[in-house]
């Protein structure tokens, strides 16, 4: 708010209250008459070819698939992830020259982990398929509801 901003309603009420009764009544009556005149005005119609021209511009400049800010964010996240990964390897004393070998070693370990988790899931599924299915469905539904609510709050 700058100094040119108008007064709030409360200050306006105070201003009107400070006026003499007949003066205030006369002013308000003039404003009422002015309002009647203003309410008789209407927006002009745009040129007849307005919609056509808009659609021509739209056709000439299709909507971008991603906003520039989103592209910049994606680039930033990718770069940050890559940098963090390299720094993680280096901080373990591997050195820059060993980053490739270390990455391959980690990949092998991750592969073993994935295979292990897969075997565990398979074993659980064989022993209690129905409870697992119900549990996963409930988790999925509750997550979707929660995300939708979060979306509404954020909006």
């Amino acid at each position: 708010m700058n100094e040119n901003d108008p007064k709030t309603d409360a200050e306006l009420d105070a201003l009107l209250a400070s006026m003499a009764d007949d003066e205030r009544a006369e002013l308000l009556e003039e404003h009422r008459q002015l309002e009647k005149d203003l309410l008789r005005l209407a927006d002009p119609l745009p040129p007849a070819d307005f919609v056509h021209r808009v659609m021509q511009k739209v056709a000439a400049a299709p909507a971008p698939a991603m906003a520039p800010r989103d592209v910049a964010l994606a680039i930033f996240i990718t770069a940050a992830t890559f940098t963090a990964g390299v720094l993680l390897f280096v901080s373990r004393g591997v050195g820059f020259e060993g980053v490739g070998l270390s990455f391959a070693d980690t990949f092998i370990h991750v592969r073993e982990l994935v295979i292990g988790v897969g075997s565990a899931v398979e074993a659980v599924w064989r022993t209690a398929a129905v409870p697992v299915a119900i549990g996963l469905t409930a988790m999925l539904v509750s997550s979707m509801v929660a995300l939708k609510r979060l979306g509404k709050v954020a909006a």
């Binding site: 404003h31 309410l39 209407a42 119609l45 808009v54 511009k57």
Partner: protein, 193 residues
């Protein structure tokens, strides 16, 4: 016309337009072109510039449909875009348009049946438009949004990006300036007669 979905007008068309349906976007443009063009004309006071800026506002709305917040009324969102473009143009202008505003006064139709309007009523409306054109862009805008477009104070606050509590005071101040202009004009006319 307006598609009401979940209580929000235009939402169905917006969603179709987001999926690439240009007919849906054309429908949106047809539905709200008048208030968008109207506010541009009130601010810029030039037919050509108002049409150009209003078209640009719709184009930007189309290009940013993925950013549109469905919780907001679509027409107010586009009007806010148009308003910002108008204000940018006003800031860039080194001088105000020299176009005779009385031309617009003749173009601005009344909400009533034009055949029944008397010459006096037309003259009064013309005088009112001319008096309005002497006000600041902010004053013209708040009067047009409230009285011409019949927007609520909350909607006006959203378009103008100000606190809703200040709208009635802005209206009063704008009306008071308008009243003074019209009183002065009436005084000049009566002295000339």
């Amino acid at each position: 016309m307006m598609a009401a979905e979940e209580g929000a007008p235009y939402l169905a068309e917006v969603r179709r337009a987001r999926r690439g349906d240009s007919d849906a976007f054309a429908q949106l443009v047809r539905s709200i072109q008048r208030p968008v063009y109207g506010i541009c004309l009130r601010l810029l006071r030039s037919d050509a510039e108002a049409a150009e800026v209003a078209q640009e506002a719709f184009l930007r709305a189309y290009q940013n449909l993925h950013r549109y917040d469905e919780a907001r009324p679509f027409d107010l969102w586009v009007m806010a875009i148009a308003r910002n473009l108008c204000l940018d143009l006003l800031r860039r202008r080194s001088r105000m348009s020299t176009e005779d505003v009385s031309e617009h006064a003749n173009l601005l139709p009344s909400g009533e049946a034009s055949l029944e309007q008397t010459a006096i009523e037309k003259q009064e409306r013309k005088s009112l438009e001319e008096a309005m054109s002497t006000l600041s862009a902010d004053d013209r805008e708040v009067l047009a949004l409230y009285y011409v477009q019949r927007r609520t104070t909350k909607e006006i606050a959203e378009v103008m990006d100000v606190a809703p509590g200040t709208i009635m005071a802005r209206l009063f101040r704008a009306r008071e300036k308008l009243r003074k202009v019209m009183t002065a004009a009436a005084g000049t006319e009566s002295r000339g007669a």
